[in-house]
Every structure is written in C-alpha cells, then in structure tokens.
C-alpha cells in the first residue's frame, strides 16, 4: 500500500510540471494578447503595459520568473484585473465552485443511490421503469437546457426559489440539481446494475438463508459490493463536478471559478488561465488519487495486490 501511494505521488509532480509548462507556452502562442481591444492602445502605452507585466523580457526568462513565483505560491498579477493578484482571485472563486460541486455530488449520491437501490429491488416493476427512464432523461438533458427550464418553472412561473446568486441555502438548490442531475442519473444506473449483479450472488443467498432481515441483507451485504462501480466513478465524477461548473455558474450567476476560467481564456489573461489550470489539475489528479485509495480500501483483492 505504501509503495502504491509513493508511486502515485511520484507521478503527480512531473505531470503537474508538464501541465504548467504546456499551459504557459500555449496561452502565449494563441493569437491576440491581454491588451488588445476594440479601441486600440497606442504603441507607447502598449510598451509600458508590457513592461509593467514584464512581458518585454525574453519568453524563457518569463517562464523562469513564473516558475520561481509558483515556488513561493505567487501566481502573479492578473492582467485584466489590475488591482488583484491571481492567488487572491482563485482563493475567492475556488471555494464557491467547490461548495457547488459538493452539493451537486450530495444530490447526485442521495438521488442516484436511492433510485438505483429501489429499482434493483423491484426489478421490471413500474417503479424500476420509471426510475430508469428518468435516469436516461437526466443523462440526455444537458445543463444548459435543464437550468433555464428549472428557472422557468421554479423562479418565473412560480415564485418558489431564487434563481440568481449564491447567498442563502435556497439559492443553492437549483444550481446543485442542475449540475448534479446527469451524475445522479449515471449513479442510479450504475447502482442498479451493480446491485442486480450482487443480489443474485451466492453470499447474498447465504445471508438470506441465515434468516437475516432483508434490509440488512441489502444495505450491509449487497450495497458494499454493489456500489463498487459507483465508488470507482466517484473520483472522475467529483473532478467533473468541480471543474465542469461553467455552464451552471453562468446560468445562475454564481461567482465561481468555472466562469472565471472561461472568461480569462477569452480575455487572454495569461496568469489567470495558468493559475486556474493549475488548480484544476491538482483537483482532478488529487481526486483520482483519493478514489484509487478508497477503492483499494473497499476491495480486499486490490489491497492484496
């Protein structure tokens, strides 16, 4: 287990370094710069701006400066938001996207697991067909359709829920459902599949033969093995939820990192793009690592390996 962890960490750092390097050069290769605008700035002003952000130095020197900044956790100044640093900005935005991701994950787990277990217990019943169809629908409807639809029903036709912003718990319901719906649907289908397979196995029959209560059979014995596909899916799913919130943040006007990431790319805010990519890279790789560890802990076969 220790060797396994060490090996994974060993992969972590070089991958991150490669990502930083590629991002650094790629954004600077893209046509257009942070100071291009409809009303063109004069060559004198442009030269001053570039000098201010040290863009007049050779590219390799800039790269070295950036790396040494990163070593001190200094992500540089934002090109588009002159009075803010990228670190300050990321620290402001990231917690909101994480919060949104956690709520969406909670929603998708509660509804996904619940629907999956129920339909596996009543296979081919009306409940099962209903839940399966609903899950299919959840997978098919993209967030940019579901979000405005929910806004229409709960916010505009009926005055039930707030539709913009990220302040009270009520504000967080619709965005979390919108973001989590597709994942809830995946989880429901996986749980149903995993549970059906598990419930037909010998050790479940043994458990029932021993006279255990059905709830104990299902929740204690069945679930543990039945949700393994879900656990494996959880790492990428969490990463997807945390990094895939751009559309939802735009629809519900949530000041998260997703919006910032896309806008900074359009604005060629070099340092902000690099900073956001770095944060996302750490998140995605970290979560996949955690999911591997949990899987190893759940499944004795992986642990033994």
């Amino acid at each position: 287990m220790a060797l396994f962890l060490l090996k994974r960490f060993g992969e972590f750092v070089p991958t991150l370094f490669i990502i930083i390097t590629i991002t650094f050069f790629l954004v600077r290769l893209a046509p257009g710069g942070p100071f291009d605008s409809e009303k063109r700035v004069s060559p004198e002003v442009l030269a001053q701006l570039e000098a201010h952000y040290h863009m007049d130095r050779p590219l390799l020197r800039q790269y070295w400066d950036y790396l040494s900044g990163l070593a001190r956790l200094d992500f540089g100044p934002s090109f588009r938001k002159p009075s803010r640093t990228v670190r300050e900005w990321l620290l402001l935005r990231l917690p909101i996207s994480i919060e949104l991701g956690i709520y969406a994950l909670a929603f998708s787990l509660v509804f996904g697991l619940g629907a999956g277990i129920l339909s596996s217990l009543r296979q081919n019943s009306l409940l099962d067909h209903g839940a399966t169809s609903l899950a299919m629908l959840g997978i098919c409807i993209p967030a940019f359709v579901l979000g405005p639809l929910l806004v229409l029903v709960f916010g505009l036709w009926n005055d039930w829920l707030p539709i913009m912003g990220w302040t009270t718990p009520a504000h967080k319901i619709l965005p979390s459902i919108t973001l989590g719906a597709a994942y809830a649907a995946y989880i429901a289908r996986m749980t149903r599949g995993g549970m059906l397979e598990t419930l037909s196995q010998d050790f479940i029959r043994t458990a029932r033969a021993k006279g255990l209560r059905e709830s104990r059979v299902v929740l204690r014995h069945g679930l543990r093995s039945g949700i393994q596909p879900v656990v494996a899916f959880l790492g990428p799913a969490t990463a997807g939820l945390l990094t895939g919130s751009f559309v939802v943040e735009t629809i519900f006007l949530i000041p998260g990192l997703g919006r910032e990431f896309v806008e900074s790319a359009f604005n060629r805010d070099y340092t902000m793009i690099s900073g956001a990519v770095l944060v996302y890279a750490v998140l995605v790789m970290g979560l996949n690592l955690v999911s591997d560890i949990v899987l190893a802990w759940l499944d004795p076969r992986i642990r033994a390996r």
Binding site: A30, P31, G32, G33, F35, D36, S37, E38, K39, R40, V41, S42, P43, E44, V45, Q48, L49, H52, R80, K81, P82, S83, R84, W89, L92, R93, I102, Y103, A106, F107, P148, V151, F154, G155, L156, N158, D159, W160, L161, P162, I163, M164, G165, W166, P169, A170, I173, S176, I177, T250, I251, F252, L253, P255, R259, E260, E263, F266, N267, R268
Partner: protein
C-alpha cells in the same frame, strides 16, 4: 467544519421540502430605494486612470465627478465640481472655478490641485492608461504621455490656487467641456493614492472597499467580484440634497439570457441590454418596459485595402452600394437600429449629417465591371471576418446573400474568437471584417479621426493625404460651422471608395422597470445616476 455540515443538512432539507411549499417569495428587493442595475461584464478595476470600457464608466460616473457634468438629455455641459468657467475667444484657454463646497467622501475639500494631480497621473507613461489619449487636447499632453517631454509644468494645466484651474489646449476643441464627464478627466484624491503606492503605480489597493475616496454622488460600499458592486449615497457630496436614491447595486451579468431572466424575476430594475430575439416579445407584450433610443455608434465592415480585390476603390464602392441596409434593419435586427447612410451617426448637434450611401445595384454592377469584374467574373473569393456572436453571424449571412445576388460575388464567412479577431485586424490578416465604433464624445471628429493614416484604429491600410489634411484643419479650426464643413468633406471622402462599408447605426436597447423615474435618454448611453429615483407607487 460544523458549519459545512450544517449547511449541507440545511441544503438537503431545503432540496426536499422547498419545492413543495409554494407561496413563499424570494424576490426580496431589500431596501426599496436601491436601484438594481445589470451592468454587463465585471468591472476590471475602479481606478479611473487604469480602466477602459463602458461597464467601468457606468460605475465610475456614480462614484466620481468631473469639472462639468452633461445634461442627461442634451449632453450640454452643466456645472459640477466647477460652478463656473470662462473660455478665451480663441477657444484655447479655460479658467475653471472650483465650487468651495465640493468635498471628497472623507470630508477633504476638492481643489484645483486634485485635478492637476489626476491629469498628471493619467498622462504619466508608467501608469500606461489606455484612455490617456482623451487628454491629448491639452497642450503638450501627448508629448508628456509618450515620454518625449519630462517636465509636466509645460503641459496645459495649472492650479493657480485652491479654487482656480487654468487649462490651455493644443487646439480649439468644441467638445472639451462636454467630455469632462468621462472618467479619464475625473479627479483623484492624492493622499489616498499615495497611501497605497506611488502616484503612477498601476493596480494598487486604493480602489478596494474601505480604501476608495471619491467625490461623486455615491461612495463605494462593497465590491464582491463577479457578484455585485454596491454604491451608497455620499453624504459629503456637494449636491447630496438632490440625490434621491439611497444607492445602486451593479450586477455583472455578461450572459444576455441570464440578465433577461434576472429582470423577469424582478431582481433588476434595469438591464444593460436585451437579447436580440426578445425585442419583438417585449414590444408586443410589455412595451412600457422596453427602451429603444438612438445611440452614437456605427456598425460597419472594414476592408483591407492591401489585398485584392479591395485594393481597387471601384470594388470597394460597388460592395458598399449593393447592400440593402433597410432590409437588414427591418427584417434582421428589428431593434430600432437605423440604416447607416454615412459613418457618423446622427446626434452631434454641431454636425449636419451627410447622406451619401444608398442602395443602387445598377451603379454597383457598372462600377464592378469598370474594375474588371463584369458580373463578378474573376472576382476572388472574399472572407467576412467576424467575432463570435449570433448577431454578427446573422448579419454576415444576410450581406453574403446580397452580394451573391447583386454582384455575383463569392463571399464566405470566417468566425474567430474576440482576441484572435482583433489580432487578425491589427495585422491586416483579413479581407473584410465586421467592426464597430461607439463615440466617446458626441462629436463627429471622434469617428473620423480613426481613419487618418497610421492611426491605431485605422486597421485597413487606407491612407489619404487629402483626408489627413482635412482632419488636421478641422482640429485647428475655431469656427464651428467651418469645422463642420471640413469634417463633412472628410467624411464624403471616406465613404466614396474609402475602406469602410457602414451598415447601421446602433440603438441603445435595455429594459427598465416602470418604477424607475427621472431617466432621460441621450445618444451616448450616459446615465446621470443622481437624477434617477424609484417610485414603486405605480
């Protein structure tokens, strides 16, 4: 950690329960007297010497005030920080008298020195202000900004005493007074600037809530980036008695559909714009909230005259004559835009608009034949470059069809993201590009000076010594009528075989709740915030 768990449980409970509890309202306007305004993109900063753009202008004009302000309807200068002023006969010397009761939001008096300091700051090369050129009408300002002159005493601004500001201009500039409400001219509070950095340092924390000291009708209360920027009434403002709003909340909502939904759910009193397809719906169902006013902006196509076929003025003219602007405006845009028969939109009261462009297919075909392309034979394919936008694409498709039908021209569409598109234009890597110009001041020269030789905004490769001379003469001309004639000649030159094809004049479109009172439209889209108030009675 506990609060997170508590939040989570609350959330889950709400998720299950709330959808089944109709009747409870979340549309809480809070303080009834605070205007909720949509404001497009997030403001970059609040330093008037660093920012550029319309969203920043909206916010800054609530926080700061210049020597004069503009009348909300006519845009004529009205007294603001200066309560009176004198102009010399040659139009080159101005003396402003600062009103003694003008105060900064910390109680300090606003003095003539604050203006001299602010103008020195924006013109300092090191601060690299994108809007420093607005001040180039000051004597020697350009040389100072470009680093060719080191001694600021030679620049045409001088604080004679606390209440007297003397200004010397390079040229008689008829719009000098009316552009004083632009943020580039706003004063800044020296002790505050220097508490957080050097005078000419970019991006210090002086603009953050709690630090910012300003002199306008409102003060900065809170700034939650990408969420909300709140300003509240400034008790130290010299005219605080006539400010009726308690404050304004500016909401940065870049997505048009999201802003539209926010307005419909009652979160906003005022939007920054309207999605194109919603205009017809509001016109039919709720005309009382739909605002469409003329706007001092022109939508046009640039042609790269360094590349065939647009290196030939006859081809340029043929293309300009063969689009039906009326059809674009009435059938495609449908939002109160006006067909552009010239480059300068109507609205500059000193400038009689010229009417040059028309829809004349016969003449266009003759010109094209004369250029060596009878019935479009041999005409190389042309790409229309545009930045990503539904509206730009629709308009490009329409003119593509018109040019195919009328000139038998092979026109293709080329879409690029905003910055790539700008880069292509700057490097003249295009044949034809969708463009726009929105006036900073209500003066024709603001449009026409873009196409002087080697001006950064030219971006077409076009150069005409005759045109350059006319604009230079207009700069130096003190007589308003003679100046207009010079500018009209220049504009005619620009349109007859020049590098642009004007398509339409913009309209200023937005939604405003009927409870907002005191609003007066103007062609610059300028909000005089202190005039507005809320009357929920209706």
């Amino acid at each position: 950690m506990h609060t997170h768990i508590r939040n989570l449980i609350t959330f889950l409970a709400c998720a299950v329960i709330l959808p089944w509890t109709p009747g409870c309202s979340y549309r809480s306007p809070g303080d009834q007297n605070i205007l909720q305004a949509g404001n497009g993109a997030e403001v970059q900063d609040l330093d008037p010497h660093v920012v550029s753009g319309v969203t920043e202008h909206r916010v800054l004009s609530s926080l700061f005030e210049g020597l004069t302000d503009a009348d909300a309807a006519t845009l004529e200068p009205v007294p603001a920080v200066a309560d009176r002023w004198e102009v010399s006969d040659d139009g080159l010397h101005y003396t402003f008298h600062i009103r003694p009761e003008a105060r900064w939001s910390n109680g300090d008096p606003v003095t003539a020195r604050d203006f001299a300091y602010a103008w020195r700051r924006i013109l300092s090369p090191a601060i690299a202000s994108e809007y420093a050129y607005m001040l180039y009408c000051l004597k020697n300002a350009r040389a100072y900004n470009e680093g060719k002159l080191r001694d600021f005493d030679q620049v045409g601004v001088f604080a004679a005493d606390v209440e007297t500001l003397r200004v010397e201009l390079e040229n008689p500039t008829p719009y000098f007074l009316s552009m004083q409400n632009h943020f580039a001219w706003f004063p800044v509070h020296q002790p505050t600037i220097e508490r957080f950095g050097r005078m000419d340092e970019r991006g210090t924390a002086w603009t953050h809530p709690g630090n910012l000291v300003c002199n306008g009708p409102f003060i900065l209360d809170d700034w939650l980036p990408n969420e909300k920027l709140s300003v509240r009434k400034n008790p130290y403002y010299w005219d605080a008695g006539s400010v009726l709003l308690s404050g304004i909340d500016f909401h940065p909502i870049e997505n048009l559909q999201t802003e539209d939904r926010a307005f419909r759910s009652g979160l906003l009193h005022l939007t920054a714009t309207i999605p194109l397809h919603r205009v017809a719906v509001y016109r039919r169902d709720r005309p009382e909230i739909l605002h469409i006013h003329p706007y001092f902006g022109c939508y046009f196509y640039r042609m790269n005259i360094t590349r065939p076929p647009f290196d030939n003025p006859l081809v340029r003219q043929a293309f300009a004559l063969s689009i039906n602007r009326e059809e674009i405006v009435t059938n495609v845009l449908k939002g109160g835009e006006q067909p552009a028969t010239a480059f300068v939109p109507p609205g500059d009261t000193k400038y009689p608009a010229i009417d040059v462009l028309c829809f004349d297919v016969e003449r266009a075909r003759t010109l094209l034949a004369k250029a060596g392309y009878p019935d479009g034979q041999g005409l190389p394919p042309v790409n229309i470059l545009y930045n990503t936008s539904e509206a730009h694409r629709t308009i490009a498709e329409t003119v593509q069809r018109m040019w195919k039908e009328n000139l038998n021209a092979d026109v293709r569409l080329l879409n690029q993201d905003w910055k790539t598109y700008l880069s292509s234009m700057n490097t003249l890597d295009y044949e034809m590009a969708r463009s726009a110009w929105i006036g900073d001041v209500a003066d024709a020269v603001n449009f026409l000076e873009c196409f002087q030789t080697d001006v950064g905004n030219n971006r077409t490769g076009w150069s005409s010594p005759e045109y350059d001379a006319l604009i230079d003469q207009a700069y130096a001309e003190a007589d308003v009528t003679k100046r207009s004639v010079l500018l009209q000649q220049a504009e005619a030159l620009l349109l007859e075989g020049g590098p642009i094809i004007p398509v339409y004049f913009y309209s200023w479109k937005f939604l405003m709740s009927p409870e907002v009172k005191g609003f007066t439209p103007n062609i610059l889209g300028y909000y005089r915030w202190k005039n507005l108030y809320l009357d929920p009675g209706e």
